[in-house]
Subunit: 371 residues, 2 copies
């Protein structure tokens, strides 16, 4: 068996994004024990930097030892008891996954649905909340299946709180690439993934939990369904007690530390402006190639763009040529959007003018070949 | 904020163990997408190498995207439906954790208990199985809280099968350091952790599932409680379909690939002999220092030794001096064994003659200082 030696790729799909060299180097730092004083310092620095990225002062702010999906399941399972009423906003695959996971944990799940690619208004959410009382409202900020960015999250959260519901927000594909203001928006349970706009390797799910949500947790009548994702137990390791729950993925935490440090160095506002500028450059370039977009400009995410595949083009052949001839990865659509859109991520380290220009050039070269 | 730059440690605790340089380097390889053809090849190589380490031909053999504890929870939750009768053998902390997690998933849990440090005979397990019918029997091969290695696992598994129970075996701290023969022992669901005798970084939980257990899964009446740990969904990504479930921790998989490659290069028998020889050298050395052991020699694990702390010695002061003066990590006991034992791991890359001799020398130097 040969050692691995993967060729570098330019990752412009829905994640993972390309990882900066210093993050890769950080992962190769020497292993230490899970209670090593050196690690304890890194953990508290990671928490401080995550609070800045989430724009929150929530004490419970730490990465979970799993991928973004583990974050999603933790965000639901800790706050659902059997029979609890949960409302999920569904306008894409990940909204549907929220509903499915909530149901696995025995919630009474109802959905407010829109066709894939459309977003929700605070008014329609409020109307749904008036009809019935829910313990929890869950929604996706940036829907990776479609490229929509849900606006007015603060207004939706405010409606939910007026009606007594906690708010779960999925920011897997937005955190670190476009504003996520946890405290200003007053959202209660917010999770993300390490491998998208944070540009760390996949395997960690940052999560933050409001005081309101912690009080709800304290009044649970039944234990949390999933031991591995039990937030109060996990918080005891990340807090002063450093009590053993499981051995965290230490090398991945090294990588996350460095990726958060790079974000702090760049500054959140500069980072958001970079994502926005590169996305607009991509949109203009794709329009110049004659392409239309699945999502109207006003609710399009700067982190993931979804142009429509031009009529007559074999989209998978184009992707194959991009990968083989340019080492460039973009993704296709799936479910109802299979064959109809491309999904082009400009996330974290992958969001650069050079990548945009190379992709546009490569699409020009390979676009015809796919016909 | 400064970049991380941890001082190297010699990790002789219960895990993580020290990680070989080539494994650390592998983690720093360029990121690729979760469906990249290059990654697909690494995944199938990881599966092939894991089958060798588990000594099995089980098709379902892959690492889960979480730590050993995620492996434990997956091994239980996929095979338990509400009300199922489960028998857990408990002779230490991790046996108790198995029982707790099984109960979280609404099993009717009964335990067969021994004082910490004692092992089970096939006869007493058979007697328990005769009294009542269980769907599942769960036990720990190497109990990291005490240092016992459960003998006669094959005989216990055979008794379980005679009485219609599936067998879950925890090999978190044994796999890769002492024989684990999944097919020969005919155990059904076996999981481990990447960071102990495999000497990869923490964050992955190798698991293997027998045909018998897969048939049981197919006849479930209810969905698996935990979406993130749903084995049939995960197996679709690791199988031919490569269907998306979640983005796996790709850098950690690079590390695991390299650690498994090193194991294949060394050979399993040579690796077990190395662990055995270094453990015996440690035991002799500790005896020469006048120490006794918590576990009798015949059920002592070569991967983790648990000498009794000599009377009058402040065990935590000794550990602190080892860490500060020698960068050497060993662990104390916990629960009923707090202050009474040390836990000294010689796992994977950490199991070397040089480490044993340095630890013995350092203990001689620091032992008095702790009084």
């Amino acid at each position: 068996m040969q050692p691995i030696n993967p060729s570098p790729r330019i990752l412009l799909g829905p994640g993972p994004s390309s990882v900066p060299p210093s993050v890769l180097r950080a992962m190769a730092a020497p292993m230490v024990g899970y209670l090593d004083p050196q690690l304890m310092r890194f953990l508290s620095e990671i928490q401080a930097m995550l609070r800045q990225v989430f724009q929150t002062e929530n004490e419970w702010t730490f990465p979970l030892s799993g991928t973004g999906t583990a974050g999603m399941e933790a965000a639901l399972v800790n706050f659902i008891e059997p029979g609890d009423d949960v409302l999920v906003l569904v306008n894409g695959y990940f909204g549907a996954r929220l509903a499915e996971i909530a149901a696995r944990h025995r919630a009474q799940v109802e959905t407010l649905e829109h066709p894939w690619g459309q977003v929700f208004t605070p008014q329609e959410v409020e109307t749904a909340l008036e009809r019935k009382s829910y313990k929890l409202l869950a929604l996706v900020h940036m829907e990776t299946s479609t490229g929509t960015l849900q606006p007015q999250v603060a207004e939706i959260a405010s409606a939910a709180h007026r009606h007594g519901a906690l708010v779960v927000l999925d920011t897997v594909a937005s955190l670190g690439g476009t504003p996520v203001a946890v405290d200003a928006w007053d959202v209660d349970i917010v999770y993300s993934g390490s491998q998208k706009c944070l540009s760390a390797p996949p395997g960690l799910a940052p999560i933050t939990v409001s005081e309101r949500a912690r009080r709800a947790l304290e009044s649970r009548q039944t234990p949390v369904d999933v031991w591995y994702l039990d937030l109060p137990l996990i918080a005891r390791y990340w807090g002063e007690a450093h009590a053993y729950h499981h051995t965290p993925p230490i090398s991945s935490l090294y990588g996350l530390h460095e990726s958060l440090r790079l974000i702090a160095e760049e500054g959140l506002e500069a980072r958001f402006a970079r994502h926005r500028a590169n996305a607009e450059r991509l949109w203009e370039g794709l329009e110049a190639l004659g392409m239309d977009f699945f999502v109207p400009r006003e609710c399009r995410s700067p982190t993931l763009s979804t142009p429509l595949v031009p009529a007559g083009v074999d989209e998978s052949a184009v992707r194959r040529r991009l990968l083989e001839e340019y080492s460039l990865e973009i993704a296709g659509g799936f479910g109802p959007l299979a064959g109809k859109i491309w999904r082009i991520g400009l996330m974290g380290y992958s969001s650069s003018r050079a990548n945009v220009d190379l992709l546009l050039t490569a699409l020009k070269q390979t676009g015809d070949g796919g016909r």
